[in-house]
Symmetry: C2
Subunit: 216 residues, 2 copies
C-alpha cells in the first residue's frame, strides 16, 4: 500500500481516465492468435480493459493492394517458419493448420452475436476458436465447426445458428469492418490505444512501453 496522497477525494479518478485498448484481429491470422494469448494480461498490468474486434482482413487487403504473405513467392516459406518460431518465442502452443488461410466470417459473426449478450463469454469463444484452429487445425471456416466450438462452451446452438443465417448479423459485421477501416486498421493484430496504432504481435513491447509511460 504505497498510496500516500494526502487527500484522496477522487481516488479512482486516474483509473477512470484509462481508456480501453482496441484489439483488431482476423481469426485466420497466426500473429493475431499469438497476440490474443497475451494482450489481456498485458493490459491488466496497466489497469486497462481490452475491446476485441474480429475483422476480415480481405476487405483491408483490397484497399491496401496487399496480397496474403503466404501467397507471395519468397515470403511464403519464410512466414511459415516465422509463425512457428514466433509462437515458440512467446511460449504459445501452435500447430500450423493445413487449411490456411481460410475465411472467418462465421467465426467473426458468432463473436459479435455473443458479444451483444456477454462480452466476457465472447472473449472465451474467441479464445476457443483461435485455439481450435491454431492448435488442432479445425476448419473454422465451416459454420458447423463454429457451432460445435460454441456448443462445447455451453452456448445454445439453435439461436446462434439462426443468428448466423440472418441478414442483420452480416450487416453488423460489415458495419464493424467499415469502422475498423475508417480507423486505419489494415492488418492483424492491430491495436489502438489513446489514438496510437500498433500493428503486429511484434509491436507488443512498444505497446507495453506506451502503457507504462503514457506514450514515448
Amino acid at each position: 500500500m504505497k498510496q500516500e496522497q494526502e487527500t484522496p477525494i477522487a481516488p479512482v479518478a486516474g483509473a477512470t481516465l484509462l481508456t480501453a485498448i482496441d484489439f483488431y484481429f482476423d481469426f485466420s491470422s497466426p500473429y493475431g492468435y499469438l497476440a490474443s494469448e497475451q494482450i489481456d494480461a498485458l493490459a491488466a498490468r496497466f489497469g486497462r480493459q481490452v475491446n476485441w474486434h474480429p475483422v476480415l482482413l480481405g476487405a483491408a487487403f483490397k484497399i491496401t493492394g496487399a496480397a496474403l504473405p503466404v501467397r507471395q513467392p519468397l515470403k511464403s516459406e519464410y512466414f511459415l517458419r516465422d509463425f512457428a518460431r514466433s509462437a515458440r518465442y512467446q511460449a504459445v502452443p501452435f500447430v500450423q493448420p493445413m487449411n490456411f488461410p481460410l475465411s472467418t466470417q462465421h467465426a467473426a459473426r458468432a463473436f459479435l452475436w455473443l458479444h451483444e449478450q456477454d462480452a466476457i463469454a465472447a472473449k472465451g469463444l474467441a479464445h476457443a476458436i483461435f485455439r481450435a484452429y491454431f492448435t488442432a487445425g479445425r476448419d473454422i471456416d465451416n459454420i458447423d465447426t463454429v457451432l460445435d466450438i460454441a456448443s462445447a462452451l455451453g452456448i445454445p446452438r439453435a439461436p446462434l445458428a439462426e443468428a448466423l443465417a440472418a441478414v442483420s448479423l452480416k450487416e453488423r459485421l460489415r458495419h464493424e469492418m467499415d469502422r475498423a477501416l475508417a480507423r486505419g486498421v489494415f492488418g492483424s493484430p492491430f491495436f489502438i490505444v489513446d489514438g496510437e496504432g500498433f500493428w503486429g504481435a511484434d509491436r507488443l513491447p512498444q505497446l507495453e512501453r506506451w502503457l507504462a509511460e503514457g506514450g514515448f
Copy 2:
C-alpha cells in the same frame, strides 16, 4: 572462468564454429537503418561477426509483388509514425527524410567497391550513408552526395567516382542481388544466421535468443 572441460585439446574449436551473421539491408529502409545501429554490438555479445550486404529492395519487390508500404493506402500514415516511434523505442536518432524512398544503387555500389579493399572501412561508410539520410535527410540517391560522404571519411574521391561509372561494379551489385534473392531475402533488414532467416528490426529479440541458445 567456468570452463571445466578436462582435456581442452582444441579450446577455440567452439569459437571457430561460429559462423558470421549475414545482414541484408537497403539504404532507403528505415528499419534497415535501425538494425544497422544495433546488429554489430548484438552479434559481438555472442562472439559473432556480421557480414553487411546492401541490396536493392525493388528487385525483390518485383518478385514478391509487394508494393512499398509508403505507397499503399492506409499503410502510409501508419508507417511514417512507426518509423519514428520505433527509432525512439530503440533510442536511435531519426529524422524522416523528405525525399523518401529513393534509389540506392550508387550507395550500394560504393559499399561493395570499398568492401573489396577494406571491410571495416566499408561498414564505416555504410553507417555514414545511413546517418546522412536518416538524420540529416541528405539525398543519397545522388552520386555526388555519396562521393561527398565518402570523401569526408578520407576515401579518395576520384577512384570511387571512376568505379561507380564502370560496368564491372554494376554487374557486381547485380550478382550480389541474385545471390540474396536465391537465399530468400525479400525485405530489409533481413538476417541469416546458421541458415535461419529473420526479417525486420523487430526480429532482433528473436535473433538474440537464437544466438544465446543456439536455436529455439
